[in-house]
């Protein structure tokens, strides 16, 4: 499938929306501590703001039970409010992040479903895209937006449809989604996101040098990407999984009514209830449609 169409950029002013994964279930058991990770990210955000005086940075935290805006450089308070040795960016961000994590944990306690290991990437992607649409509406002189996902936890298959919707909307608005994936295996969702929208996917090999990866790959603005060599996408898996066994298949059968994927021939579709080979009647109504999502 073709990747995103290229757009001509006149200058290098950029708006970077960073989606920061704060999943405590992942960070509590990971070898690289969250505090070190944060220090790399904060230095990176400062560098973005230093590269061009009109650059803007927005940070959205992706939690386990909620997502929220943490920082917006266009609404930052004046630099005179600096606490000691930390610049205003860091103190603002850290304070809001602290509040977010406590709120998120509190929401988790109310939920009776038990611990979940995936964070709500679809929520923060949707919020980022709404913010970017607002920037597009603000007039002809606006910074070029892009999204950077700093994702650590693995993909939640229940978010597949929502993430794909967000990816297609980003492709239509020509907003690249870059991904820096820190977890163990590769994330199929983020690989597809970066391929379809024309962004960069990278899984850093040495996390001690995370700032180097961020600065050399993800700090590049869209105008400069036309003449820089960035990591190419290899091995993006576009195969689907069957709805019955959740295994990845090469060839399958698709229900013509609801597009569910099956690996073997069935007499009846388990998602929409249509009987194959007959005109479908009103009995097999849409109320039977369950939101089954394939695991990729």
């Amino acid at each position: 499938m073709a990747s995103a169409p290229s757009k001509l950029y006149a200058d290098d002013v950029s708006l970077l929306v960073v989606l920061l994964d704060t999943n405590p279930f992942f960070w509590s058991s990971f070898s690289f501590p969250f505090s070190k990770f944060l220090s790399h990210v904060l230095t990176f955000l400062n560098s973005i703001l230093v590269l061009n005086q009109f650059n803007q940075v927005v940070v959205i935290a992706t939690g386990c039970n909620s997502c929220d805006y943490i920082y917006d450089s266009s609404m930052a308070t004046s630099p005179s409010i600096e606490s000691g040795s930390m610049p205003a960016l860091c103190s603002d961000l850290l304070q809001k992040l602290e509040e977010f994590v406590t709120r998120d944990e509190h929401l988790g306690k109310q939920d009776s479903l038990g611990p979940t290991t995936s964070s709500l990437l679809s929520g923060s992607l949707s919020m980022a895209l709404c913010y970017i649409q607002r920037v597009f509406r603000s007039g002809p002189l606006h910074p070029q937006p892009r999204i950077l996902c700093l994702q650590a936890s693995s993909d939640g298959p229940e978010q597949y449809v929502a993430i794909m919707n967000a990816i297609f909307s980003a492709q239509r608005s020509m907003v690249p989604i870059d991904s820096c994936y820190i977890g163990s295996n590769n994330s199929a969702f983020l690989q597809q996101a970066s391929y379809i929208t024309g962004g960069v996917y990278q899984k850093p090999q040495q996390l001690d040098g995370l700032f180097q990866y961020l600065l050399t790959v993800f700090a590049t603005d869209l105008h400069s990407r036309t003449f820089l060599q960035l990591p190419k996408s290899v091995g993006v898996d576009f195969r689907a999984s069957c709805f019955c066994h959740k295994k990845t298949i090469d060839m399958g059968s698709i229900c013509s009514v609801c597009l569910s994927i099956f690996c073997k021939h069935h007499k009846k579709c388990s998602t929409c209830g249509s009987v194959f080979g007959q005109a479908h009647s009103d009995v097999a109504s849409v109320s039977n449609l369950k939101r089954k999502t394939p695991e990729t």
């Binding site: 499938m1 073709a2 386990c64 039970n65 909620s66 997502c67 917006d72 939920d111 479903l113 679809s122 929520g123 923060s124 949707s126 919020m127 895209l129 709404c130 913010y131 649409q133 607002r134 509406r137 978010q159 449809v161 794909m164 919707n165 967000a166 297609f168 909307s169 239509r172 608005s173 597809q192 379809i196 290899v234 091995g235 993006v236 576009f238 195969r239 689907a240 298949i249 090469d250 060839m251 399958g252 059968s253 698709i254 229900c255 013509s256 609801c258 597009l259 099956f262 579709c269 249509s274 194959f276 007959q278 005109a279 479908h280 009647s281 109504s285 849409v286 109320s287 449609l289 939101r291």
Partner: protein, 424 residues
């Protein structure tokens, strides 16, 4: 003050007329506002005769909400399914009526321009569907392109031959389309979209018979007229279950045309449910060399390998030329999922809640953080999602329902998701 405003508008308009006559060609932006954009039409009088500009933002949003409400009322009451695998034939009228200049520069050029945009939008929203082009010229219908899934070939063929002459014949077009659409598999939904510029039709036989033939073959015919309402088009659409509309101007024509891009509600008996065999090819390694089956030449890297016959194809979605297997990737299927799982329209927050001083309403839109307060700290018009109860601004409402198809509020709260799951 109102008299002053009125006088100023009139005064400036008069001055501009003089300026325009002097300038001729090169108009400045402020002059264009009067010559081309007719900014005086954007004013309106309220009940006491005071002039005020039309608030285009809320007008646009009100139009959008009326449209959404009419669509959702149909969908929820009748539980209508959608025809996702569509075989659509577009019939372009190139009779001498298409050379009329009421649409600038001529009807034919305007139609071609918007049909190109429509073709791209169609394949964007319906990746598994196929499109064919038919033209009517000199009373005869010609097939411009066969039913196929590649937007580029259709656009190239359309832009290549744009000449109009002769009479228009609706029956010949319908006969031709009927012949093509009879050959498609039974699970596909058959549709015809006629873009009719003429005011009459010259037919060799009984068009009513042809209409009945189309109705029996379950072909859904829709017409967009560019001149005036014609009885035979209306009859055709009523009989086959399509929609008939007449465009008032170019902008309206574009709107009407793009309304046909998302899948129409499917009438249940029209298509037989079937399991279609499809392949999900993997992308070949960057350094592999293979002979590509579409261009018949050796290519390095890129491309996809058909899982059944191992032939190389260049792009997806396509049909393997060697073994005939439909080849797609999972994102293509995912593009249609939002038609199956639509999000609920948001409700307007009632003005009584807005004006109640005791209510602590959110100060900013949940999606884009835009302030929802009017100057003077009064809460402005906003909408709320019925499931997660978050407030959104009007622009986010339009973006979410037309492009994103995800509610940021519902996606950002896990326990709201579990509540929805337990209801099902």
């Amino acid at each position: 003050m109102n008299n002053g405003d009125g006088k100023r508008v009139n005064g400036e308009a008069e001055e501009d007329d003089d300026e325009d006559e002097g300038n001729g060609g090169g108009l400045d932006a402020w002059e264009r506002a009067y010559a081309d954009e007719r900014s005086w039409e954007a004013l309106q009088e309220d009940e006491s005769g005071l002039l005020r500009p039309i608030d285009t933002n809320t007008l646009y949003h009100a139009q959008y909400r009326r449209r959404i409400r009419s669509l959702s009322s149909l969908a929820t009451t009748a539980r209508i399914q959608k025809g996702l695998i569509r075989y659509l034939c577009i019939v372009v009228d190139l009779s001498k009526a298409a050379a009329e200049m009421d649409f600038r520069p001529s009807r034919m050029v305007v139609v071609a321009k918007h049909v190109e945009a429509f073709i791209r939008e169609f394949f964007d929203q319906n990746p598994l569907s196929q499109l064919g082009l038919v033209t009517i010229k000199d009373g005869v219908a010609h097939c411009l392109t066969d039913l196929g899934g590649s937007p580029e070939s259709h656009v190239k063929a359309l832009m290549g031959k744009l000449e109009c002459s002769g009479e228009s014949s609706l029956q010949n077009a319908l006969d031709l389309v009927h012949g093509y659409l009879n050959q498609i598999p039974s699970y596909g939904h058959r549709e015809v979209l006629v873009l009719y510029s003429a005011l009459s039709t010259c037919d060799p036989g009984d068009i009513m018979e042809t209409i009945q033939k189309c109705k029996k073959s379950k072909i859904r015919c829709s017409v967009i007229g560019l001149s005036a309402e014609i009885f035979i088009c209306k009859h055709l659409c009523q009989e086959t279950g399509g929609s008939y509309s007449v465009a008032l101007d170019e902008v309206h024509f574009k709107e009407l045309l793009l309304e046909h891009a998302p899948p129409p509600p499917a009438i249940a008996e029209f298509a037989i449910a079937n399991l279609i065999k499809m392949g999900f090819p993997q992308r070949a390694a960057e350094s592999s060399i293979a002979i590509c089956s579409c261009h018949k030449e050796a290519k390095v890297g890129g491309g996809y390998t058909c899982p059944r016959c191992k032939a190389r194809v260049c792009e997806l979605p396509t049909e393997c030329r060697i073994c005939g297997l439909t080849l797609i990737s999972s994102p293509h299927l995912a593009r249609s999922y939002h038609h199956l799982f639509p999000i609920v329209p948001f409700d307007e927050v009632s003005p009584s809640l807005l004006n109640d001083p005791h209510n602590r309403l959110p100060r900013s839109c949940f999606g884009c953080q835009q302030s929802l307060l009017n100057p003077g700290n009064k809460p402005s018009l906003r909408v709320a999602c019925p499931k997660c109860k978050q407030h959104f601004c009007l622009d986010c409402d339009i973006y979410i329902h037309e492009s994103l198809h995800n509610c940021p509020g519902c996606e950002s709260f896990r326990h709201s998701k579990s509540a929805i799951a337990s209801e099902e």
